[in-house]
Every structure is written in structure tokens, then in C-alpha cells.
């Protein structure tokens, strides 16, 4: 199960997101489904098309399948997606 405790180690593809904060003000509020992930970017499918958001400078509100919402600081997601599983002693929140 994907929980707020293990989101950062879990699969993000398929989740709904909203960009809660970003150093680029035009990115704030972008909403959609995560369709791809690279080391530094999340690709979000929105109504207006695909948006590529840098993880490092943004904060994401993720909606998990059980409808709980988690706010994740994008900078801790900066890592190859397959490396996220397994690594890391938890940081803040």
C-alpha cells in the first residue's frame, strides 16, 4: 500500500498532483496526473497538455489512491525513480 510514510519510496506514475509551490510562479496550481518521471522532472498530464516540472524547485500535493493527500517537497524526490525504493533514512515530516 502506498501511504504518506512511503510515498517518497513508492511509484508516482498514475497519481494526481497539484503543484503547491514553485520558484516559477506560473507553475503553481498546475494540476493533473503524473505520466512520467525522470531524475529531475515530473511529467504531468493536464487538461492543457503535458507539463514538465522540475522536482527540485517545487512542492507537490499528491493525492494517493485512498484519497489521502500528502504534501511533498520536490527536492527530496530528486533521484532516479528506481533508486528511490530502498534508500534513505526518513527526513522531515
Amino acid at each position: 500500500m502506498i501511504t504518506p510514510q512511503n510515498v517518497i519510496r513508492h511509484e508516482l506514475i498514475g497519481l494526481s498532483v497539484r503543484v503547491a509551490d514553485s520558484s516559477n510562479p506560473r507553475q503553481i496550481g498546475i494540476e493533473g496526473t503524473i505520466v512520467d518521471e525522470t531524475r529531475n522532472m515530473l511529467v504531468i498530464m493536464t487538461r492543457e497538455g503535458q507539463k514538465r516540472i522540475q522536482k527540485r524547485y517545487a512542492t507537490f500535493d499528491l493525492r494517493l489512491p485512498d484519497d489521502t493527500r500528502v504534501r511533498v517537497d520536490g527536492s527530496i524526490l530528486v533521484m532516479q525513480p528506481e533508486k528511490r525504493t530502498g534508500m534513505r533514512i526518513r527526513k522531515l515530516r
Binding site: E11, G14, Q80, K83, T85, G86, M87, R88
Partner: protein
Amino acid sequence: MAARSQHPNRRKIAMERIETLFAEAERVHAEHPAWSDRYVERALAIAMRTRVRIPRALRRRYCRRCHAYLVFGKNARVRIHGGKVVVTCLACGYQRRYRVVKPDNGE
């Protein structure tokens, strides 16, 4: 191996990630087949890194050679030939043969 810090649940999480990736690949395939293939690559990367075996049912849903996500009847041909199930990947032409065994219901 021991030197790297490992999360105790990593294999369980890895398995869940592989399953969600395949589920997403299935869901998205009709509209974006390229994404499905990408998700297969992601799943394989996770499996390799965490040394988790991909379940047999899922292992047969992608092409061994080109890693395309296979939807039988759409981009894969399934035929019985000489007592074997022959799955042809229509993207690269690779044929995979599976024997038919009674207690084995992996398709």
C-alpha cells in the same frame, strides 16, 4: 551490499511499484502505447535494482527483446503451434514459445 543503507520494506514496495506500473501500462495503452513501453522499462529497472522477480503473469505481458508492453490481439499475436503457445511481438517480430502444462495456469 551491506554498506549501502537499505530500507527494510524495499522489496515489498518494489513489488507494489512493479504492479502499479503494469496496471498503468494496461490502462494507458489504448491511448498512449509509448507510455506503456516506458512503464515496462521503469518496472524492469526497479526489478533489477531491487532484485525482485517480476511475477510470471506480468513477465509474459512484455516483449523479451524490445520490452514493448504486449496486448494480446493488438500488438501481439497468440497462436497454438505444435503444442506450444507462440506469442509474436508485432513491434519487433520476436516469437516467444511457452509450453502448455496442466498445473500451470500462467496463460
